[in-house]
Each structure stands twice: as structure tokens, then as C-alpha cells.
Amino acid sequence: MLKMMNRSQLLYIPLILLGLVFIIPFGIMIIGSLLNMTLPIGNPFTWVVHEKFSFANFGYIFKNAPYLKWIINSLIITIIPVFSNMFFSAILGYIFARKQFFGREVIFWIMMAVIMIPSQLLIIPRYIMFSDLGWINTYLPLIVPEIWGIMGVFFVRQYMMTMPKDLEEAAYIDGAGDFTVFFKVYLPLAKPVIATVGTFAFIGNWNDLLTPLIFTTSDEMYPVTVGLASLLTKEGNFGVEMAGSVLSFIPTFLIFIFFQRYFVKGITLTGIK
């Protein structure tokens, strides 16, 4: 058998084996969510044969936990930062790449240096600020600090710096102002990088655990990550846990499928080459 394959086809053996390692956990999650059982017992490879599939676990979750509210919370604290990040990255990226003003480089590199500081350092002072402002257990601490991010600005700036100057010069000669140049010339051209910024913001905010864990205190205000984590500790029911995981996984998975090429693009855009 092996002899019949040529060298390049042999490549598929490690690919498939490794692929299985990556796929099996997700397969377990999906199969587990459909099984009606407290704990998986016995050889998992026989589950499919012996157990009956049903959506009972999903029904159980929606009945016993405010799961829909968790998903809505996650959407609120994700969608707003996604769009504001795309907008601010675009306009600030343009300003830092294309506008001349006093202190431009200094301001930009101070902001970049701050990324070095681990976000965990910010959490305690922010907690004090937000509790003074009465923001704890509202959406505000999860949205307001996240409305823009320097990494997104960096991506767009890198992208726009490589664009030829002739582009804007023609527009300026025609009498266009900065707003027109930005909206009509640079914004359309920067669409791929802006989509990248959006996908990263989505994944980052949707999956964040530590921040909402600290800034939300009631069941009703949890985003899906914290809600699911509480479900995982409360339930001892494997099927229910996996059903919760599937529900939280679906939105990320859909975003991933639709915007997959932007993730790859985004990582290559970080300027490592």
C-alpha cells in the first residue's frame, strides 16, 4: 500500500493524523451534546451505536439557564466594539500613516509601547474606577475601554503607508478635502485590513473570560463565556456541558468560516516579515 503512494502523497498521512487530533475534541463536543447521559461511561467509540441522540440537552439549557440572555449579552459587548474598532482603526490608521502633525511619531510609539504592559495590570485600577462610576454589572466596562485598540490602528497604518502618494494627490488637486480623500480613496482600498481588524475584535471580545468574570456579578449579565463556565462548574452532566459548549462555539465557528482568509491575512500583516 505504502509503496503504491508516491512521496508527495505520503504527506497526507501526517496531515490526516494531526487533523484527527485537532478534530476529535470538537467531534466529542458535538456527539456529547446530543447524548442523553449524566456521564459518559464505557468506550467512547461505542456511544454512537448504543446511545440515542436527541436535542434534549439544548432544551434543558434554555429552560434552566438564561442562555439566550448570555448570548445576547455577548453579542452586545462584541458587536459594538467590532464596529467601533473597525471605524477608529481605519481613521486613526489613516491619520498616523498619512497626516503630518506635531508629535505624530511620539504619540504613536507611546501607544504601541503600552501594549507591552499586560492587560492584567489594568484590571484592578479599572475595577476601582468602574465601581466608583457605578459601572459594575453593566455593559459599560466591557464596551467603553474596548471601543478602539492600538493593534488595529497599527495594522491599518502599515497597510496605508505602502499606498502610493499619487492616489491622494490627484484627489487633492481636484479640490477634495481630507474627509473626501479618506472616505473615497483610502477607506475603500483598506477594506481587507479593516475586515481583519473586525474579525480579531470579534474573537477577542467574544472569547474573553477574565474581564467579564470580574466586571459582571449577576447571572443575567454574564456573557456566554462566564455563563458557560458557571454551567461547567454547576452541572455534573456531560451532555449538558457539551450542549452549552456547542451553543457558545457556533457564533465563533460561523465568523471563522466566513472570514477565515482574514485571520491568515491579519497574522501576516503584523509586520513580522
Binding site: S8, L11, Y12, L18, F26, Q120, L209, L232, M242, F253
Partner: protein, 292 residues
């Protein structure tokens, strides 16, 4: 005046509000938490200035040293495997054969999935009883069941395994980007000189990837020192504190024990460690690399 406004309108309208936002939510908290390290403040009431007490307390806190030690051990288990697996995956998908795009998506899937989801599955895969997934596999080949997450020697390794699984997809993409930009002529030359694939890899591909190794090493190291989610979700720092990491301990001190001043000290310790690592890596690994 009008001309000036026209020229800088965008800067005033958009940059100024963002600078204010930056000052409130980034700069001020950084300075404020430094002040907090000198106070005792259980959130309610006024902060009490206690000088260096928190900092000195760190020296006599065995749990803090345990957390730092655990985090370093975690990095040892995590950094090199993450880089190696990422590189292997990148080499595999870089061959450009049919269907590699599909595998690229498969390997990247855990990166976009939340730790909470992956941890839920992992909890059962590495369950320390006979009905855990890996234990069932071990049983099938005649190996004793392992305790995994409930064993203080193994728990941290299992968490590292989870993080490698979760993150190596993005390492793969960094390497993939590097491999895609490799100069073709060198490979042609190597082929003419009769170098085999093994030799070509070690003599050409691996050294040419040096800038990527450097970048990935920094990103992975910084990430490893910030590990929290899996320690919180899977082990809650246990068994017998074997998975208490710096950030987990910070969370516990700050938000369970409400010792915000001391937790701020831990946050600064984390910052110093990351800062020093970045400096060292910059000094020793950031050497100029040329393709010529």
C-alpha cells in the same frame, strides 16, 4: 486660521478624543495601580498608605513564589512545543498540495474557539478516572489509568497540552507566512548541490526563519506568562497549588480576598518579568538576519 483648521480637522476631531480615552483607560490605570501597590484597600473605605509593606510581603509569601515557579514551569512545558508543532504544521500545509487549505482551517480552529469551550472538552479527555477519554485509550493498550488533572505532578503538563493545542494554529500561520516568502533560488541551488530534504531544512529553511522564530518566541513567552483561563476553569489552581499561576493568584488575591494593593504588586511582578524577557530576547535573538 481656516487653512490650519482644514489641514488638521481630522486630527482634532478623531485623535484628540482617542488620546483622552487612552489617558483615562490606559495611562491613568497604569499609574494608579502603581500607587495602589503602596496601599491597603479592600475596595470599601479609604485607601490606607502602607509604604513598601505589600512589596516586602511578596518576599515572605511562599504562595507567590510558588505561582512564579509554576508559571515558569508552564513556560518550559509550553514554549518550545508550541513553536515546534507550529513549524511542523506550517511545513505540512506549505507543500501546496490539494486540500492543505482545509487542514490549515482545521489546525486554526482551536485558536478562534474560546478557552471555556476547549476546557470543557479537555476536562473529560483528561479526566483522572477510568471513564476519562485518554484513560480509556491507555487502558486499551494496557497502561494504568493516570490521575492527570488531579495529580499535582501532571496537572500543569496537561494545562500546557491544552494551551499548545489551543495556540499552535497561530504559530503555524506565522511560520506559514515566513515559508511563503522564502527565496526560491536557494532551494534550487541546494537541489543542484545534491542536498536532501533533511539537510535543506536544517541548512536553509530553519536558519532563514530566524526572524519568525524570534517573533514567535516573544509572543509565545509573553502569552505563557499570562496563563489564566485554563488554570481557572480546569483546576482552580489545584491540586495542592500546583497550577496556581501568577495571573490566577493575582485574580484570587484581588477579587476573592479583595487585597487590591497586594494584587497590584503581583500585576507589577508580571509586568517586570515580561519586560525583562522581552529585553533579553531582543538582545540575544534579534540579531540581524540576511537572506544573502
Amino acid at each position: 486660521m481656516k487653512r490650519h483648521w482644514n489641514k488638521y480637522a481630522l486630527v482634532y476631531i478623531f485623535l484628540v478624543p482617542i488620546l483622552i480615552h487612552f489617558s483615562i483607560f490606559q495611562l491613568f490605570p497604569i499609574l494608579f495601580s502603581f500607587y495602589l501597590t503602596f496601599t491597603n484597600w479592600p475596595v470599601i473605605g479609604e485607601p490606607e498608605f502602607i509604604g513598601l509593606k505589600n512589596w516586602l510581603g511578596l518576599l515572605h509569601d511562599p504562595l507567590a513564589w510558588k505561582a512564579i515557579g509554576n508559571t515558569i514551569m508552564f513556560s518550559i512545558y509550553y514554549i518550545v512545543p508550541t513553536m515546534a508543532v507550529g513549524l511542523i504544521l506550517a511545513l505540512l500545509i506549505n507543500s501546496g498540495k490539494k486540500g492543505t487549505g482545509f487542514f490549515k482551517a482545521v489546525f486554526f480552529l482551536p485558536v478562534v474557539t474560546s478557552f471555556v469551550v476547549v476546557s470543557g472538552i479537555w476536562a473529560w479527555i483528561f479526566k483522572g478516572t477510568d471513564d476519562g477519554f485518554v484513560n480509556m485509550l491507555l487502558h486499551a493498550i494496557g497502561i494504568e489509568p493516570q490521575l492527570f488533572l488531579s495529580d499535582s505532578d501532571q496537572a500543569l503538563i496537561v494545562l500546557a497540552g491544552l494551551s499548545i493545542f489551543k495556540v499552535c494554529g497561530s504559530t503555524m500561520i506565522y511560520y506559514y507566512a515566513g515559508l511563503q516568502s522564502m527565496p526560491h533560488e536557494l532551494y534550487e541551488a541546494a537541489k543542484i548541490d545534491g542536498a536532501g530534504p533533511w539537510k535543506t531544512f536544517w541548512k536553509i529553511t530553519f536558519p532563514l526563519l530566524l526572524p519568525i522564530h524570534f517573533y514567535v518566541a516573544i509572543v509565545t513567552t509573553i502569552g505563557s506568562f499570562q496563563i489564566f483561563d485554563s488554570a481557572f476553569l480546569l483546576t482552580s489552581g489545584g491540586p495542592s497549588n500546583s497550577t496556581i499561576t501568577i495571573v490566577y493568584y493575582l485574580y484570587q488575591e484581588g477579587f476573592t480576598s479583595l487585597r487590591l494593593g497586594y494584587a497590584s504588586v503581583l500585576a507589577y511582578v508580571l509586568f517586570f518579568i515580561i519586560f525583562v524577557i522581552s529585553l533579553i530576547q531582543k538582545k540575544y535573538m534579534g540579531k540581524e538576519v540576511s537572506y544573502k
